[in-house]
Amino acid sequence: MDFDFSPEEDAFRETVKSFLDENLPDEYDAHDPKFLKQWNHALGKAGYLGFAWPKEAGGAGGAIIEQFILKEEMSTRRAPALGTDFMGLTWVGPAIIEYGSEEQKQKFLPEMFAGESIWCTGYSEPGSGSDLASLSTRAEPDGDDYIVNGQKIWTTLAHVAKYIFMLVRTESTSRYGGITCLLIPMDTPGIEVQPIPSLLGVASFNQVFFKDVRVPKSCRLGKEGQGWKVVVGALAQERSGISEATEKLRHIEDLEKLARKVKRNGKPAIEDPDVRRKLASFRTRIAAMRLTGMRHLTAQLQGKRPSSETSINKLLRAHLEFEMDDFSLGMLGTEAQADGTWQHRSLSYHGSVIGGGTPNIQRNIISERVLGLPKD
């Protein structure tokens, strides 16, 4: 074991820090399109988008370990690390590199780097949420085309996305083997997007309707019936949890600040032993999350694919979200009724806990795939 970074890796960290000093304003509006465009451009220019992707795919060919450092520093500075196209850069891109045709790589990857495309992901359907493999949106072959009919739901960013990375059913007898992955431009005739206001009252996810949408078969990613395999790999990318650990580190810093500010029995809450122990318990698990991320990273470096064990950090993170939220609102007292940062956070974290598979789904994955218990 060795947790030290090499001099080259330390130097890379310094480079990232200087990049952030130069390009990230102290205050910014994460929803300002002008800022995001600039930021995206700067990231692209520095080679930080698709950082660890192979050079021939247009990436920077960076080492995975440097990507870890990059993510960590970005998150430490609370930067919108991947600009506007989180989904594209996190899992669509790697999936295209692994399963895509030369034509698809040429078409989609350069745009992704330039920050000129936003991707959304069409997994869930009204009848298929946690049981994703039951999905029923159909793609019927018609000559060189598919005709897509059906409906997706909870599709984040569909209202602004240029493309959708989606799962369809090409065959109905095989549950997993009948699923295929398509890459479709959102302006294709027959696609209709209806935003769904989240409980925060803003549009973040959508319903997407497909009515006789004709797309060429060249839109297919991988082979027919290979869609489930493509997506399982993509979801594991989402769950590696390294940047999540750094994100939680920012959260606990904020929580500690709050504990210094609010009073308990006339004294700063931070002096209360219960409060101190609770904060230490959060910090302990956040430290462990980062370390577990490093264990997965090591496995990746040794050429092993991310396994279902990556569900560990997703599940642990859910616990931390619940407990840290509960704790923050407890400290706020009646102030918890008013609108404010902590209160807002208390509503919004549910989205990230449920997205990508609820905690119960993570428990199913762990108990069935890792512990070998029978499927229910």
Binding site: D2, F68, R276, R283, L315, S367, L373
Partner: protein
Amino acid sequence: MNFAFTEEQDFLRSEVRKLLDAQCDVKHVREIADTSEGYSRDLWQQIGELGWIGLAIPEAHGGGGLGWEELVILFEETGRSLFPSPLLSTVLCAETIARFGSDTQKQRWLPGLADGSQIGTLAFLEESDEWSPKAVALSGKREGRELVLDGDKRFVQDVVAADLLAVFFRRDDGELGIAIVESKSAGVSAKSRDPLDKTKRFGDLTLAGVRVPQEDILSAGEAEAQQILELGALAAAAEIVGTAEGALDLTVKYAMDREQFEKPIGQFQGVKHPLAETYMEIETLKSLVYFAAWALDSGDDSIALATSQAKAYASEVITRAGVMGIQLHGAVGYTLEYDIQLYLKRSKWARPMFGNEIHHYERAAALGGL
């Protein structure tokens, strides 16, 4: 950066597990636990010859010259097997001497501890029940070239079996000291206490006018004593990893075998989800424990925080794993016959050993700048 064990370390783990599976399965554990001594002399001799006890003792003094990464592997496996022996106590006594003894002292005591011919332990905890060097009050008065020790120690692990005691005491001038005392010395008396977990033995120690020559005092004060407590916390946390995993494996097996409503109960989410939670917690704990072992071996300045985080979380994990195991077993979990109760009892030993989560989270808060 590399967070993985080496092939040699993986080999050590498989060798330790192989021997314990063959010679110390749960049937043997129960037999050994029912003896008055509480450990098997045969097995003890064997692991001494195999070099387990002296794994981290310098080669010059009869040991294997390895470190805490290897000790953590060893303790994880002994924890998994509920191996009843004075291993943890002896290793910690040897570490104390290896770290803070002179060359003469090391040459005198370490070879015997390394090969198992001598059993050692730490005599630390007192009436205050505080795992903190500041709480050490046992009196060590200077009389000429000798020191006279007077006072009581509690919960001294393997105190009846031990030949050598690392006694933490308070000098006339208020400084802390550590003396190596032979248990057969005049004025030393040990009295065993009934443990909840019979695979772990301990008792109270009384030192009444025990005379210790200057050459038996180690060169250690409060900071050094604190380091020993950190080693103890890590050793206990490593055992907990194995014990919790043992409880999980046993319960998973039961959940697959036991059928109700014409299905294995492991098919019900009410059963499989708590098992998944325990798995997640154990994996999370491993990350903390392995990192702390690396920090110790490489002298990283995060040792104190890392060991406290590891033991704090370990105390919580083993407490929950013990309860989970019994509850998912249902009524048979409440019987003497089923083995899961052994893990619950071990959790009662492991949680407070070298400080429970209350102690260590408080410490982690202070170390983390709160």
